[in-house]
Symmetry: D2
Subunit: 346 residues, 4 copies
């Protein structure tokens, strides 16, 4: 069985394991107050061009999302996001469990617009009974989105502008940020992105680490007491340096972006090959996730040798599925999949 169902089916890049092994018997301060976390945070501040940002390392994405949102919002405030956003449907209500409502907006290809956010805020504040509704206070975006698509620099600038106008925080979920930034179609750099949002994170779990997400807090209001929140949410790893060491290594020699580029180019190879066979796509995604539409029979046959995720039924005979490449995907597996689809379609 060859797995294309997600981008976290393997362990970590060998350099990560080596780095962990190398310091295994060094004694470290716990809870992220060690030199590795400090060095990794420094590296991230430099790469992001944000010398004053606070950087914290958490184990996973759901934890990072819930902790950031809970830290930022007062009880009556909610977070706007695409109806396809990860916090909206894939985290067992982790945001609601902290007491906050997720306010979903209709999405196109996984994206929402500054205009939608503006209109939502306008309507909120125009309602005579506005205090009877959850107050919008944050915008949550994923880059790339859950459908593999990208916001353009102009779209993000417009989103920033509406957030400034309406007093909203802009939070970018970067669980797959590398796959986004490394994509040729991406027109924004890490420093440009960092400058536009109040908080974002740089994902490790899906991009070469065993686990780990680096949360970058740029807005001073969000920095205060953040470590208390991490601890309360069960996200303060006792051996915090395990996270620091991994990010140190990932961000050395551009490894993080090279691994992302590997996945993106294999996805591009797959996309092109499927396209040439006439396979349509559910959404036009330029990163490591792709969503071909295939006949049920083809999918059943493929399922004997490959794993993939169900995305949507498109019509009576066809479904869209998700295929992911990753830092660990082997080119021969991609070629095998291409050959299999080819064989099944002809």
């Amino acid at each position: 069985m060859i797995r294309f169902n997600n981008d976290y089916s393997e362990g970590a890049h060998p350099r990560i394991l080596e780095a962990l092994g190398a310091i295994n018997f060094s004694q470290n301060a716990g809870y992220g107050e060690d030199e590795h976390c400090r060095a990794a945070a420094e590296r991230i501040r430099a790469l992001a061009g944000q010398p004053d940002a606070a950087v914290h390392f958490l184990v996973g994405g759901t934890q990072a999302n819930a902790t950031v949102i809970d830290a930022a919002l007062r009880p009556h405030q909610g977070v706007l996001c695409a109806e396809t956003g990860h916090i909206c449907g894939h985290e067992t209500g982790a945001v609601e469990a902290t007491g906050h409502k997720v306010l979903p907006l209709p999405a196109r290809a996984g994206k929402i617009t500054a205009e939608q956010v503006e209109e939502y805020c306008r309507a909120h504040w125009a309602d005579a009974s506005f205090e009877h509704y959850v107050q919008p206070k944050m915008v949550y975006l994923s880059l790339p989105t859950e459908l593999g698509t990208l916001y353009t620099k102009a779209e993000l600038e417009a989103m920033r502008a509406v957030c400034d106008r309406r007093g909203l925080y802009l939070f970018v979920d970067g669980a797959r940020l590398g796959y986004g930034l490394a994509a040729p179609a991406c027109d924004i750099t890490l420093p440009q992105l960092a400058a536009l949002c109040d908080v974002f994170y740089l994902g490790g779990t899906k991009q070469g680490a065993l686990f780990g997400e680096a949360v970058v807090l740029r807005n001073d209001a969000l920095k205060a007491d953040f470590r208390y929140l991490i601890k309360q949410h069960g996200g303060m790893l006792a051996k915090g340096w395990l996270l620091g060491v991994q990010f140190e290594e990932l961000l050395r020699d551009d490894l993080y972006f090279r691994l992302a580029g590997h996945a993106d180019s294999l996805a591009e190879r797959l996309r092109t090959a499927l396209g040439q066979m006439g396979v349509p796509f559910y959404v036009d995604s330029p990163t490591n996730q792709l969503f071909p539409i295939l006949p049920d029979g083809v999918l059943e046959a493929l399922a004997r040798d490959y794993t993939f995720t169900e995305t949507a039924r498109v019509d009576e005979g066809r479904r869209a599925v998700r295929l992911c490449t990753s830092w660990a995907t082997r080119p021969e597996h991609v070629e095998a999949l291409i050959a299999s689809v080819q064989a099944l379609l002809t």
Copy 2:
């Protein structure tokens, strides 16, 4: 200014005030453990044909909704409701504040169907990652709905059937239950309704009491420890007998339903009169709320003498508004409004 914007603009029916006055200096046990609450609960059990139901009196609807839902659900469970449901948008996220996600379904005229609930549950349990989603565990309906419409007996029976099949609680918000049951278009009785749901409440605030909602718990699983929940939610009135006395009086001599009938028939008078003038309606509602569509100019002129609530912009020149009659509405005010609209439309 004559108020048609809601059905709680006046105090209480004079008999309620008299009853409160009559026992003002009697000493009572606190927190609902008095003889008035006991008698009122007994009366409700009899009227509902539910001799084993637990009955509790709470001050208001948002409190009743949040307390019932919080009492019923485990942390990972959510409540299905119409996207127009009161808990979905009008209670400042009170349900989410207890940690539970409200799961909105597209509504038609304020109503959802058994088929929608079945499909939602089917999709939940069919998803390989179902544990990553909030588990549907309760259906919340309003009777009448927030748009003044009614579920038929057949619709409620179908809903009960899907709830049984899928292990869901059925919770009916009866903040305006009297206005529903008293409407000629209503084809269900209180005992029939009570037998179909796990929990419902009988609203007093909008139907002749100063305040108060009587929560009726039929399902044994929901009865356990409910008073702890009321207290924790800040809903246990120190002088609980104030609620008992009001419901005792409201349910004596059929007062509750006669007051509701008064409101419904004035609404019918208004509906007919507006219809005869050619005024269209946003929704066909047979109870005490009506939603005429009127030109902006007419609404502006009306707003000088009458209050009403904005419901929706229908097109560039017209809006739907909500008009409510109530137990306290004076027939001459309805006639005045009819005359005013007539004058403005001609």
Copy 3:
């Protein structure tokens, strides 16, 4: 049965009922946005000497406590209080239900000291792992306390000073504030108290109203969006004017303080009489609650005609009980109780 077990066994002062009756058919805006709430708030601002304070009316004390605390604290922050404080043990964990830990301090006669608060904060911030502990951010006091005792002006000034030094909010639960301020032993005025705390409330439920607590927010940081919080906590009464009307009336002609004085002087009469019989007291309380220590046999006999609350077992043969007088207590009932105790003790 004559009730001395609490100070909320009767309805309301007749003037309250009259005032409610007088405006019963006036139409009002809902949710506290009416002229009665406005006038009552204005009156409270004047009495408290706080022209910029925000005043909101809530139905009950548990609701007021949870709403204020939830509005003030971030998720990792807790509230210091006496171990005997109402929020600590008598509200079914309503504060914890909002996610915040109550941090109890050992109390003497229901009171805590500025030194205790200072020491708690010092220890918190001195701990190398301080982020692993709930951060103290608020002090909650009751005036009078749950044991009927009073803080002196000097004690409150010292508490204010430590709150300023440590960045804490000072919140005074005034469910029985009138009974405190009207007591001869009280050395602080309402304006002096108001000037010392960030938020307090003026209780109505126990002091002549049917129900209602007036929350006074002095600190700007606490004022923002408070109405959203009230709604979310289920505390926004639809017919909010019912609260405004009651406080308008209570605060007219000094009625509130005269009613409190009535209760305090009857308590004093009872205290003196019991003292003359040699009855010891569990605590020396100068307000409307008193805590005599009586033999079990006497208490059993008394329980046939009077209600009281168990406070503590003092030794094998004696218990301390709570007796309350109230605005409604009849002098002849106090005399009857005195006579009964006298008869039982001799």
Copy 4:
């Protein structure tokens, strides 16, 4: 600097790293649904003699505690624990953040008794206003305790009996369970312990793994839907097999208990040596944590070369500190510490 301040200052036993390396490029199903988790769970069920137990792997202890407690309790229920219990003071209110009150009991040497639990329950149910208090529903114990002490088999049996009598869940925090079970003073086996509690966990983080705690649910009522709760709490590791692989390896060839025995015997060596120097102990702890009382001057001097944790000031000149040994402690470090103390004391 040699670290004795905790038992998680190093990475993992080399066999753990080897095992992770060996399967690094194998593709696995995510979220704990892989064969390694299955095998490790099976091994734990066998070791614990609980063939029907549900076993789940979480990253850390705070997460495990909050998830178990949140899964088990209804909103009005709380958890009894020693005032020194980890959930009471060291987890930034993580339990309260889920809405539940921690109900602390006075502890002796970190332990509470069945009698205390019985008395708490008796008092709760005897109070006429019991619904105004948080309902006790769970007992939380740590084995060994936060002070390194052990419950005896008889004490645990008594606790089980009171839990049965009072309808409480018994939850044992086993973050250091191995250090407890491996101690010569321990008179209980893993199967005996497992049979006595409703849920417990077997800690990995402090006992040879990089991280990880294995939660064992014995009571059917706690098993239902537990994975939803893990996900909601941000505890569902995407690469769940990283946990399975570690526990598989730890539990092979008795490694887990041998590592624990190593730590316990080094602690015993240290305890004996310090005792021979006349050093008193704050508590008599037979596991890998010890709490010597030393003069301030000695501690200051030691702090130049060793880390330890402050526990309590004992008198004006002396403090109790915590020293931990671990699976990774080197005997020569223990000897060095002994020599240093010896030199400073003479």
